[in-house]
């Protein structure tokens, strides 16, 4: 039984595409067949983060318009053979998306993959609506700040009202990822606490990803952080992927790093 999972946020820049890449790769590392689809038509980014920039020949719009076959457009990840990538068109814009064509594409992808992960564009316009239209589940990515929470709240409202499942009286299953959490700032009360975010959004928590400067470098290198065994953010994404694969993994709240004695001494002599 395959699932279509849309990754949404409402606000831009909170880490949707990074999350898509890491979660997709994480799921593939658990031995599941997974495809990540870039739905941000005209602003393709996922290819770079996955390090597959130079392999893009055909895109999803060409597949939908039957100018290319699906297997021609699908790109296999270098990092894990279970992961495939379907790029967005960089030359067209969001207006090319049509419901029937998307439905057919997703049906074809469902036949091949257990997990179909869609990277939604920022905002709540037609591109977003098309991404969530046929989703079974949604991952909502937020940063612990009020504007991100409000925008994602709006996006969830649209998810409930405009998705096929929502219209048929059902509900798209929702998971929340709180991204870029700085435990120090949370401790000082400068960031929204996890409980407050959960209360406002009333969505089940899938995971908390700590702020990690390594993520940016990993994205630039096209080598997602989930592959990095040293990285805390990578570990958080690995746990998230396992939870999505049905494993019961306890939640880990990011902790403030206690400075070691040597570090303290170094600080003294700085």
């Amino acid at each position: 039984m395959s699932k279509v999972i849309a990754v949404i946020s409402g606000k831009g820049g909170v880490g949707k595409t990074t999350t898509t890449a890491n979660v997709g790769l994480g799921i593939a590392r658990n031995g599941r067949q997974c495809v990540v689809v870039d739905f941000d038509i005209g602003q393709r980014n996922l290819d770079m983060i996955l390090g597959l920039e130079n392999r893009v020949v055909y895109d999803m719009v060409q597949v939908m318009d039957e100018e290319a076959r699906l297997d021609q457009a699908l790109i296999r990840s270098k990092a894990n053979s279970n992961l495939y990538f379907l790029p967005a068109s960089q030359t067209k814009d969001k207006s090319v998306l049509e419901s029937e064509k998307i439905e057919k594409l997703l049906k074809d992808l469902r036949k091949r993959f257990e997990y179909v992960i869609l990277d939604a564009p920022a905002g709540i316009e037609s591109g977003f609506e098309h991404t969530i239209e046929f989703a079974d589940e949604a991952i909502i990515v937020v940063n612990p700040e009020v504007s991100s929470i409000r925008d994602s709240d709006r996006a969830i409202g649209i998810l409930d009202s405009k998705s096929r499942k929502g219209k048929e009286g059902g509900e798209v299953k929702k998971h929340l990822i709180i991204n870029r959490v700085d435990p120090g700032m949370v401790e000082r009360g400068e960031m929204l606490a996890t409980d407050d975010i959960l209360e406002i959004l009333s969505v089940d928590l899938l995971g908390i990803v700590p702020e990690d400067k390594g993520v940016i470098d990993a994205s630039n290198q096209g080598h997602p952080v989930v592959l990095d065994d040293e990285s805390e953010a990578g570990a958080a994404y690995r746990r998230i992927a396992k939870r999505l694969c049905g494993e019961r993994i306890p939640l880990v709240e990011p902790q403030v790093k206690k400075e070691s004695l040597v570090g303290k001494l170094k600080g003294l002599f700085r």
Binding site: R150, D151, D153, R154, G157, E199, I200, S202
Partner: protein, 257 residues
């Protein structure tokens, strides 16, 4: 055919003594600039000059349709009116009004009955115009726009799910909201509003009372007046009008029993 609808606030005023009248106008010029003045009585040249020089909008001795009347003396009326219709002498005038009660808080059923009468009258007037008109954003307008689906005597409507940003509930009766009202959500009722969950969105009510917990974010509009969030200090606050004063009282436990 192009059609649109606006809301304006009407200030109704009679000229009994030109001097007092001018004094009143002068004192309240800033406030009146945002209203359409509906003037009754005999116009003098000074009054005319004053109105023109201050570019105040006014109509003279005109009977404006109203949902509720209750003015004899100089007294504030809040009303909606199709501004454009007046300016362009268009034929598609359509408006409504509601009064801020001065002497006593209006009992809810009476007010609702009047709102209903107005809705019926409006509906009978021109149904196709209703369909064509462009909706404006103000809450009163939205309330009138969505009247088609409402039953004749609106019962209390209970909203049991949380309101998310961008979602809105509009109703011409009273509302009970049991869950959260998130930032960016909107609640508008002609009747009373009772919100039991945390309120971060906007509430507007023209009913008998509003009952809310403290509001950290979001605004509360009661009969067109903004209720300061700092004033809501009780676990549950009951906001009413007493002698035209906004009164905020705590809800005591015994009132629940």
């Amino acid at each position: 055919m192009k059609c649109s609808q606006y809301n304006v606030k009407v200030f109704e005023i009679g000229i009994e003594d030109p001097e007092t009248f001018l004094k009143f106008l002068e004192a309240n010029r800033a406030l009146l600039g945002q209203h359409l003045l509906s003037i009754h009585g005999e116009m003098t040249e000074e009054i005319y000059d004053f109105l023109e020089s201050n570019s105040l909008h006014y109509v003279l001795n005109m009977t404006l349709p109203q949902a509720k009347r209750g003015v004899q003396r100089f007294r504030m009326l809040r009303s909606e009116e199709e501004e454009k219709a007046l300016e362009e002498r268009s034929t598609s005038a359509e408006h409504s009004s509601d009064t801020v009660a001065k002497e006593e808080t209006p009992s809810l059923p009476k007010e609702l009955a009047e709102v209903r009468d107005w809705l019926r009258k409006k509906r009978g007037k021109s149904p196709e115009k209703e369909a064509q008109k462009k909706e404006t954003e103000t809450s009163e307008e939205a309330l009138s726009a969505s009247d088609e689906e409402f039953p004749k005597a609106p019962p209390l409507k209970i909203v049991k799910q949380a309101l998310r940003s961008g979602q809105s509930v509009r109703y011409d009766g009273s509302l009970l909201l049991t869950e959260r009202i998130n930032s960016g959500a909107q609640v508008a009722a002609l009747g009373s509003v009772i919100a039991l969950g945390p309120v971060e969105g906007n509430i507007s009510s023209t009913g008998e009372c509003v009952i809310v917990p403290p509001i950290r974010r979001g605004t509360l509009l009661f009969h067109g007046r903004t209720i300061e969030n700092d004033a809501l200090i009780h676990p549950l606050n009951k906001i009413t009008f007493v002698d035209d004063q906004v009164v905020i009282q705590p809800i005591n436990k015994k009132e629940f029993h």
